[in-house]
């Protein structure tokens, strides 16, 4: 049992170690692969450790499972086997005992019955012999014998089991009955009477032991001479049926003699006879005479032990196994087998020893007993052995001792173990097998499950490792993509430098006098393209900025309307080739100046419009804009087009009426500006409305082939819009095309909130005839004009124009002309209203495209129109490619108002202003005799209004530029470059210049696009100062501006502290050009001294300069300092700028004075700026000095002090 357990456990352990061996290298293999493939040390080692821990846990679970199952198996097997075996073996013991008991009992019975019969015979014999005591005669003797024979027969026949009864008289006569069981014959055996004498018997009556011996001898041996007769008898009746025959002494049966009863008591012994196979049990008893002194005869009874053997056979048949009985000496008395008990080899037959038995089992059992115990049997001769190995089988051997007097018997039973325990053993074995196999199965299944689990875990580990490696790979990919964008950014940065050179050279070329107009325009175009290319490079930089999230929006004030106008101007050039009309439609409530990143805003719209142009083969592109206070936020998104228009209309009406509502809403400074880019292109599939804003996403993959582009444009747009806190989306549009709507959250500076287009056109009784090609543009312009109280008429082609003109001017003479077309019914009412006007001014805006330019007809057409020249002002809308001959012709005829397409609000306003001005001049000329002042008064209201607005705008623009550092390519400059460029008044005739001299009183004249004046030679160059990348040109313009008109620093006194003579000189000249008075000193100490002297002399100076100052501006009068501003170089000998500033500020302490100090430094670091501001400077300029920036800084500072 224990062995088995150990065995099982050992086997399980072996299995477990086998598993371990199997799985350990697997883990290692994974580890190696990780290291080799992924080279990801940390993660894999981390993985590995957790993998091992998991593995150990799994292994422990497996071992525990194995132990558990093993224990269960062993216990189950133990209980089933042991208890059964125990109970069975006790049962078996009983069985064996019982089995052995029964033959012994039978033996006992046989013995008893034999003894009883013997006793009975003896008693009968005694009785008979006493009756016939002392037979004196032969006859009596015979009578006695006859009586004895009868009695004996009766007894013998009553007992069938008896083998024989013998009576041996003392005289040697023998009577015997014998039953041959083999032949079933019964014999009577007697000796010859003649040989026996009475004397002999007499002598023996008084016999002693010695004589008895002699008798016995005579009876057995001495009677050789005696003759024995045998007569067969009828077994039932006892009648003699045959003749008595003499028998040979060797055939004689065993006859009990006196020798067998030596001491006169009964004796037992086992005898053999030749007539039976089985040993015989014989008992002998003496028959005493009446006096009990002498033995008269000996009675012997023999019984066959055959029946015991028979019983044993029966029992064995029932229970299997073997039984035998032996005498104490080991002679076999009976067996359960049919093997012979007697040796036949010799005569007479003898008993066999048990060890000589022919039956193998009995022999082996006897041998085994003999071997084990030898002669030393245990006391009671009882042996119980359970596992005696006989041959190849195990047997139970049990022996019992039966102590009969003079015949002790030993019974042995040999049962095969198989018979009793066979089933149990088999069951136990089967159970064990089943249990072990079940345990193995469970173990295997458990292990497989665990392996599967472990597999899952290891798989998870693998996945995790893979995930980590993927992350690593992704990081690498991202890094490389970063490198790419970095490279791109660097490249664009490098490309910008040569581009800047190209643009600079173009500027030089443009400034060349020798250029013809055509060359000039070509160069201008080249310059524009270069600028566009530069912008593209900037965009790439932007994109990488946006992508890296580093884009920071500037916050600066800028004129939104002007930016957009510039944009539309730019794109209209492109659109003319595409036969597209570009229309700008900004509502009047748009704030003029907003705070934000102008460059980005422009970029947004440039991208959108560019996109629209790409996909619009013909039709129009409208850029609409309107503003909304944040409270209206939600609703206007869903506004249909018409409603919105009506709304803006309504709004403007509101504006004309009292303004407070608007003002109230504007005070919080935040506006939401809504824009729409509306085109008539191919449109976008609704499913792609969101996708088009993704990077590299195009609505139709074929667009790249058709239109080029990368799909980045809209992505940048959306990023920028989102960055500005707005949103953009594609909106459903009626009809063909795309409608993109976006909103921007921009703040409006407080001081500018009311600066919309503040031109009041109603009072001028203007009538505008719009003879324009583009339907949308014309419609929008005319609507806007009507809103503002200007009467408009429209014509879309030449014939229409002529008709309208005819109606307009000839109808005045014949009002009731009935030839009006139904088509012009609307016109009629208008004509009526025009007639009601007092002294209307007609403005006819003619698209040059209306003339037939392909042939020479245009000259006639021009002549036709020229007839109305006196009565109306002509404004010509020129194309970009309008030939010079036409322009020359127009100029020759005195048409000076020429504007490039497209026409939008601001341009219209300027046209109308110019017209009004011109008219006023004419009126002045006409009424030269009348008082000039009254004339002025008449119009002063309107002009002053315009002036103030424009002036403010200009100054703010200046600051814009300084802050934006010229980053805006389109219209960053202070004046209106594009319009200046388009207003083809370059070759202004001399007579016009006199007009210009008149109008030049207005200080900001040059900022107005329709400048009729002094800027004539400068306008071509002004055209190109929109450029942002070439700072120098900005400065050029600025200085030219300063030369030409505006001396924005007029009257300022500026102290310049600068040690470098070159810089000192340059700065001085710059400032002087702007009208400032400059005092230059060489170092900080001098600056401080100069200031102190002036301060001390202040009182005196104030007195003396009083008159002089009166002529100067207001600001100076209120200024307490002798200088309005100090420009301070930071690095100077003796005392540097910081020290000087500190000293000045110190001296100012206690007074209310604060003289603005502007640092001039070559250090461009922000920390330097901080340092400057820390010591008390007010502003900060870097070298080399940027002219415009300096001027704007000075203006802002001096303004503040005033």
């Amino acid at each position: 049992m224990g062995n088995m357990c150990r065995d099982l456990f050992g086997r399980l352990c072996g299995y477990a170690t086998l598993l371990q061996k199997n799985s350990t290298p697997k883990g290692r293999r994974i580890f190696h692969r990780d290291v080799e493939k992924e080279e990801f040390q940390y993660a894999s080692s981390h993985c590995l450790s957790s993998y091992y821990s998991v593995f150990v846990v799994r292994l422990a679970i497996m071992i525990m499972l194995a132990i558990l199952i093993g224990l269960l198996t062993i216990l189950t097997w133990h209980f089933t086997k042991i208890y059964t075996a125990k109970s069975l073996s006790s049962l078996a013991y009983g069985l064996r005992y019982e089995l052995l008991q029964r033959p012994i009992l039978r033996m006992w019975n046989i013995l008893n019955s034999t003894a009883e019969i013997t006793t009975a015979q003896v008693k009968l014999s005694q009785y008979v012999i006493r009756r016939h005591s002392n037979p004196s005669t032969q006859a009596e003797q015979v009578e006695l014998y006859e009586a004895m024979r009868a009695v004996t027969w009766a007894l013998f026949s009553s007992r069938k089991a008896l083998n024989s009864i013998t009576i041996n008289y003392k005289n040697g006569f023998v009577q015997a009955f014998h039953r041959d069981l083999k032949d079933n014959n019964t014999f009577y055996i007697y000796s010859d009477l003649a040989n026996y004498s009475m004397a002999a018997s007499d002598t023996n009556v008084m016999g002693s032991l010695s004589t008895r011996q002699a008798w016995d001898d005579k009876a057995i041996h001495g009677n050789f001479s005696a003759k024995w007769y045998r007569e067969p008898l009828d077994p039932v009746s006892g009648e003699k049926i045959g003749k008595a025959m003499q028998i040979a002494p060797e055939d004689l049966i065993n006859i009990a003699g006196l020798s067998q009863v030596p001491d006169g008591v009964a004796s037992w012994h086992v005898a053999v006879s030749k007539f039976t196979d089985s040993p015989l049990l014989s008992a002998a008893l003496p028959v005493w005479d009446s006096s009990n002194k002498s033995i008269m005869a000996v009675v012997g009874v023999t019984t066959a032990l055959y029946s015991v053997g028979h019983l044993m056979k029966e029992l064995v048949e029932l229970h299997s196994g073997h039984m035998y009985l032996t005498s104490q000496e080991g002679y076999l008395l009976s067996t359960s087998t049919s093997a012979p008990l007697l040796t036949n080899s010799t005569k007479p037959p003898k008993l066999k020893m048990a060890v000589d038995c022919e039956d193998d089992v009995i022999r082996m059992g006897a041998e085994w007993l003999h071997r084990t115990y030898g002669k030393k049997f245990p006391s009671a001769h009882e042996v119980h052995v359970e596992n005696a190995m006989l041959g190849h089988q195990k047997y139970y051997i049990d022996s019992f001792f039966l102590n009969l007097k003079r015949l002790p018997l030993v019974g042995v039973i040999i049962l095969p173990r198989k018979y009793i325990m066979g089933q149990v053993d088999e069951r136990a074995f089967k159970t064990l097998v089943i249990l072990i196999s079940a345990a193995l199965c469970i173990l295997v299944i458990g292990c497989v499950c665990i392996l599967i689990l472990t597999n899952g875990v290891s798989k998870e580990m693998n996945l995790r490792a893979e995930l980590i490696s993927q992350l690593e790979a992704r990081r690498k990919a991202e890094a490389s993509s970063n490198y790419k964008s970095q490279f791109l950014a660097n490249m664009s940065h490098e490309l910008r430098t040569p581009m800047a050179a190209v643009i600079g050279l173009l500027d030089i070329l443009i400034s060349d006098d020798c250029l013809t107009n055509e060359q000039y325009s070509t160069v201008t175009q080249i310059r524009k393209c270069s600028t566009a290319l530069l912008r593209l490079l900037n965009n790439i930089l932007d994109l990488s900025k946006v992508e890296s999230g580093k884009l920071v929006l500037e916050v600066a004030e800028f004129d939104l309307g002007r930016e957009l106008e510039g944009l539309v101007d730019m794109f209209s050039v492109q659109c003319i080739n595409h036969n597209i009309e570009t229309v700008l439609d900004l509502s009047d409530d748009m704030p003029k100046v907003v705070r934000g990143d102008s460059a980005r805003v422009v970029q947004i719209f440039a991208n959108l419009i560019n996109n629209s142009i790409k996909f619009t083969p013909s039709g129009h592109i409208i850029l609409r804009g309107w503003s909304e206070t944040p409270s209206f936020c939600g609703e206007s998104l869903n506004f249909p087009l018409d409603q919105k228009k009506s709304r803006s209309l309504q709004k403007s009406r509101e504006r004309i009426n009292p303004n407070h509502a608007k003002r109230a809403s504007m005070r919080d400074n935040k506006v939401i500006l809504w824009f729409e880019v509306d085109d008539t292109g191919c449109g976008i599939d609704p499913s792609k409305w969101d996708a088009v804003f993704e990077s590299f996403e195009q609505a139709d993959p074929s667009t790249t082939r058709l239109h080029g582009g990368t799909g980045l444009g809209l992505c940048i747009v959306r990023n920028l819009v989102n960055k500005m806190g707005g949103e953009i989306k594609v909106v459903k549009k009626e009809g063909q095309g795309t409608l993109i709507q976006l909103c921007l959250h921009l703040s409006v500076p407080v001081e500018h909130t009311d600066q919309h287009c503040a031109v009041d056109l109603t009072k001028n009784s203007l009538v505008v005839l719009l003879a324009l090609h583009g339907n949308m543009g014309r419609l929008i312009t005319s609507k806007w004009l009507q809103k503002n109280g200007v009467c408009t008429m429209e014509a879309s082609e030449w014939n229409g124009l002529t008709q309208v003109l005819r109606e307009l001017f000839h109808a005045r003479s014949s009002v009731h002309n009935n030839d009006f077309d139904a088509h012009y019914e609307g016109l009629k009412s208008k004509l009526l209203t025009i007639q009601d006007m007092r002294n209307p001014t007609f403005v006819i805006v003619v698209d040059i495209g209306l003339l037939d330019l392909s042939t020479d007809i245009w000259k006639q057409q021009l002549n036709f129109l020229h007839r109305y020249f006196g009565r109306a002002k002509f404004v010509w809308m020129l194309n970009h490619d309008t030939s010079n001959t036409i322009k020359m012709e127009l100029r020759r005829k005195g048409h000076v108002l020429m504007v490039n397409k497209p026409l939008y609000k601001a341009k219209m306003i300027h046209i109308l202003e110019a017209v009004i001005k011109e008219r006023n001049l004419e009126l002045q000329k006409k009424n030269i005799t009348s008082s000039r002042t009254t004339m002025k008064e008449g119009d002063s209201h309107e002009f002053v209004e315009i002036d103030s607005t424009q002036f403010d705008a200009t100054s703010s623009d200046d600051s814009d530029i300084s802050e934006m550092a010229g980053s805006n390519p389109v219209s960053a400059s202070g004046d209106k470059p594009t319009e200046n460029g388009y207003l083809e008044e370059t070759n202004l005739s001399k007579e016009e210049s006199c007009q210009s001299s008149l109008s030049s009183n207005y200080a900001t004249e040059d900022t107005q696009p329709i400048s009729l004046s002094s800027k004539a030679p400068s306008s071509p160059t002004a055209a190109q100062d929109g450029d942002s990348e070439c700072g120098e040109t900005n400065r050029v313009t600025g200085s030219s501006k300063a030369i030409n008109g505006k001396k924005s620093l007029e009257g300022l006194r500026i102290l310049l502290a600068e040690d470098t003579p070159v810089l000192q000189r340059v700065a001085t000249i710059m400032l002087e050009k702007m009208g400032a008075v400059v005092v230059a000193v060489g170092d900080g100490q001098q600056a401080v001294d100069a200031l102190n002297i002036m301060v001390s002399a202040e009182d005196f100076r104030r007195e003396s300069l009083q008159k002089e100052r009166n002529t100067r501006s207001q600001t100076e009068i209120f200024s307490c300092h002798p200088y309005d501003l100090i420009l301070m170089d930071c690095q100077m000998p003796k005392m540097d700028g910081y020290e000087a500033t500190k000293a000045i500020r110190k001296s100012e302490e206690g007074t209310a004075l604060h003289i603005p100090i502007v640092a001039l430094t070559a250090h461009a670091m922000s920390c330097d700026e901080a340092k400057c501001l820390q010591v008390g400077m007010d502003a900060y300029l870097t070298k080399p000095i940027d002219f415009k920036k300096m001027v704007s800084t000075i203006i802002s500072l001096t303004k503040r002090t005033s």
Binding site: L505, T1060, V1062, V1066, I1069, Q1131, P1184, F1187
Partner: protein, 154 residues
């Protein structure tokens, strides 16, 4: 050589100066500042620059030859030179000065000497160029042509 041709030559020359990076926008600005009030402004400033630079270069050479080089002083000189060169738009001199200052901060005497040589070289170059330019202008004026830079100043 008539004035027109000379003008063309002048334009070419100034273009080459820009392309080669001798001059930058600042010089154009200087030309803008020249007007009737200061007809010789550019020449004046340029000659001021020459004087100043030569003085500074001399000081620099001297300062660097000393045993214990006073880098603060050198730095101040270079700073001045940088300021004046950037004011007239002598771009390459300015760039050399920037490099010079970096080495000054490092207090690297050898590198400073090398830079000084470079600055001197750049200065000589730009001086020659500017002198040629001015000569050309004077020739144009002498030939009776309009001074081309007046065109630039509109």
């Amino acid at each position: 050589m008539d004035a027109g041709q000379m003008k063309r030559q002048w334009v070419d020359y100034i273009k080459s100066l820009f392309v080669e990076g001798f001059l930058d926008g600042q010089f154009l600005q200087l030309q803008q500042l020249q007007d009737e009030n200061n007809p010789e402004f550019v020449v004046e400033v340029v000659s001021l620059f020459f004087e100043d630079s030569e003085r500074l270069l001399k000081d620099l050479s001297f300062a660097l030859e000393q045993k214990g080089v006073d880098f603060k002083k050198v730095d101040a000189h270079v700073h001045q030179l940088k300021g004046s060169s950037s004011s007239i738009g002598a771009q390459r001199v300015k760039n050399a000065c920037i490099a010079f200052r970096n080495f000054c901060e490092e207090q690297n005497t050898d590198a400073c000497l090398r830079c000084l040589q470079q600055v001197k070289q750049e200065y000589c170059l730009v001086k020659n160029k500017l002198e040629t330019l001015i000569r050309l202008e004077q020739q144009i004026v002498a030939a009776g042509g309009s001074i081309p830079m007046m065109e630039l100043s509109f």
